[in-house]
Symmetry: C2
Subunit: 447 residues, 2 copies
């Protein structure tokens, strides 16, 4: 059995903690098993999968921009399939299935479960997944879907409408996308469930559908032709067209922690980071990722969130409104988790003549290295402030440690490997200071 976790999202509703590179599923805020170490939504789901014995073979289907966050948070335990461009859930699932089939060599009879990576749910959810997989294995239906028992007539979710039971599974009459509240009430009376985006099928079922759009011999060839897949959701292209669909119901806690309001309801901690609350306020949640103290006096029903991207102060019940502003407030990413560590932008200037500077603080984890690279529009000056490492400039290696400074002229090839956790201040100067001004080369650290 194989699990495909879908990790997407643009991260506008939890600004400024989430952004394109750090969607909500990567925020380490939820109470973990060890309460001292909060975990992210994707870490929580993977932990729950493991606890349920469902971790046999996990593949995360995600975008290039989230790849480093997935590696950083889940390690190398999971397979990662990246979309070359963002298209929708149908192409993403096709690509992941072709990966399992053509890259990993699994046969068409293998059972595959597709699910989102960020539901806030309980163990029963994973038991329902096992039942879905079992139904696929005994061929009770070609496609299985999880039906989540609605707790209110929501217009935000799709509904799965049942049609009697057969072969141990509830037959599905049809899917109904986001209805109005009156229709939702009627659907619930008829026994309809929410569609939580969890599906199970045999691998061959999906590769057959996929190959109608892109048929190539290797996974790499299919990925190269990713643009040939239609931009459409799995629900429309697969679920609504399937001939035989079964549903396994799940009644239990299931939430989309997609807004500050719903997220803070689940948090056991009121303040994250360097925060002082004076004790006269109430129902205030504060997130401070800036390295300076924050003080709240007498605040009520408020969410305060500060990151290098910006600062939000919002009345809790209005927190969903941030969605409409996040695009305007968007800057270049000011914080990113990378496979080698993380960085934060601490200053940037643009002088009237167009000359720019960007100052970052970067930390490389022990044993990790950044790629061997060069830039065409900027010089870089690195001053090491903690740890030890090895620096390479145009092929020449030298050890570096806290207190050292190196100057990297425009066009010079350079790399850096951390021996111990290595932190440095980088001052970039030049024009067009973007992450994309980079040419990468192979470099053999073992040589």
């Amino acid at each position: 059995m194989h699990i495909i976790l879908l990790s997407g999202g643009s991260g506008t509703r939890l600004w400024p903690l989430s952004n394109d590179a750090r969607s909500k599923q990567f925020l380490r805020l939820l109470p973990g098993v060890d309460s001292l170490q909060p975990e992210s939504m994707i870490q929580r789901v993977v932990r729950q999968l493991k606890e349920s014995g469902l971790d046999a073979d996990m593949t995360v289907a995600t975008s290039l921009s989230q790849q480093d966050s997935v590696i950083s948070q889940l390690g190398r335990d999971v397979n990662i399939v990246t979309e070359p461009t963002r298209r929708n859930t149908f192409p993403a699932i096709c690509l992941a299935c072709e990966y399992l089939s053509k890259e990993k060599g699994f046969g068409p009879d293998e059972t595959v479960v597709v699910m989102p990576c960020d539901p806030f749910t309980e163990p029963g959810y994973f038991e329902a997944i096992k039942e879905m997989a079992a139904a696929v294995e005994r061929s009770a239906a070609e496609l299985m879907v999880m039906g989540i028992t609605p707790t209110y007539p929501s217009g935000k979710y799709g509904y799965v409408v049942p049609d009697g039971e057969e072969d141990g599974v509830i037959r599905v009459k049809r899917f109904t996308e986001k209805p109005d509240v009156a229709t939702a009430e009627q659907l619930i009376k008829e026994g309809a469930k929410w569609n939580g985006g969890v599906f199970a099928f045999r691998l061959g079922y999906m590769t057959d559908i996929s190959e109608r759009f892109v048929n190539a011999a290797s996974f790499a060839d299919i990925r190269n032709r990713y643009e040939d897949f239609p931009k459409i959701s799995f629900d429309y292209e697969v679920a609504e067209k399937a001939e035989s669909i079964g549903m396994i119901p799940f009644t239990g806690e299931w939430k989309d922690l997609g807004t500050w309001n719903t997220l803070t309801d689940e948090l056991k901690i009121q303040a994250y980071g360097d925060v002082t609350l004076d004790g006269t306020g109430k129902n205030t949640h504060v997130f401070n990722e800036l390295g300076i103290p924050m003080m709240c006096i007498g605040t009520e029903n408020l969410v305060v969130a500060a990151s290098p991207d910006g600062i939000l102060i919002t009345e809790k019940c209005k927190s969903e409104n941030i969605k409409q502003y996040a695009e305007i407030l968007k800057t270049r990413p000011m914080f990113e988790e990378r496979r080698w560590g993380f960085y934060r932008v601490i200053d940037h200037t643009e002088s009237p003549d167009g000359f720019c500077s960007l100052t970052k603080r970067l930390t490389i984890n022990p044993g990790c290295s950044i790629s061997y690279q060069r830039h065409f529009c900027r010089n870089e000056v690195w001053t090491f402030v903690e740890g030890e490492g090895i620096f390479v400039l145009d092929g020449k290696r030298r050890p570096v440690k806290e207190g050292d400074t190196v100057v990297i002229p425009l066009g010079s090839k350079h790399s850096l490997k951390a021996i111990s956790s290595l932190t440095f201040i980088e001052v970039q100067t030049g024009s067009n200071l973007i992450e994309e001004d980079i040419e990468r080369f192979d470099y053999d650290w073992e040589e």
Copy 2:
């Protein structure tokens, strides 16, 4: 006639915008004459003095830590007398009077007016000052005090109790320090006024008193013996002991904008810096001195203030409570206005082995220079990001401009002069990274 402006204060009640180096009187928030250019409390008072024709000879009595802010905000139009250590208003006024007498050579008959540098008041206040000076000149009393007509029975102020009129001035029976509210009500019925700390006298009156404590031939000698003055207020040591005191009343707007609540009442602008308000909130004032966007959604009766020192979110009516936390929240100064420009701390680290780094962004104003200096505990790396200047290292000059990097090893003498406005990123590394690790030398830029 001479005006002595007292500029002190620790700046805890307007944290995080104010700190020891930037007391509330230096915050550029008040609506200026040109509404596009806000002015600070001290700038407003000096402008009002000039508009009233009272600017003949102004001396600011302040602490060393505020000297650079005074120069930066008032220019070289005013004299500055700095206390070697903070003692109280009596020693500070003695020192300023000795400066006028011994350093500037004014005679004992000159009229002196002492006043705070930060009342929020109207032109009538300055007319009352003129009347006080006139009363001193015609010798109606040895000490004149301004009596501000109370608007409510406050327990926060001292009261001046009258005793009939004589020679065109109201005689003062006694001073009463901060009474309880019932006493204040009774005092107001008897015609008592608030003591706003404005006094007028002849220069010789104060130098006679001063020389009872410190008698020396030169101003420099007196300043060197500053510790010999008692730590006491002018009110206790002079006003309460004076034999002949007259009062000039003032009825008009007069406020101490000492808390976020009282300050924001007077502001015409709701948001300072990069701030977006969603329009569904009310009575919110926001100050953002961090270079990142800030968004407020649906906030009510709130003050939000963010500076490199920290972030405050407070219910307006509870804003005075910050006073008790400011000491705990205090960090090293993260922003300072200096005579040559300003700096901001953008990052700091301390590694487990005690090795430290401090990264600053500094701007030197055109034509200005920092002192020729060296440090004993740190290296510095400067990367210029805007403008042009001249850099000196161990006596050797070289031009510098945006994109250049210079490394200043521990112990090396260095200086920098801006030709155009010059901004650079400084990374300090070493141990004990404090402003006090500095040895200054003379340097002749004309040579």
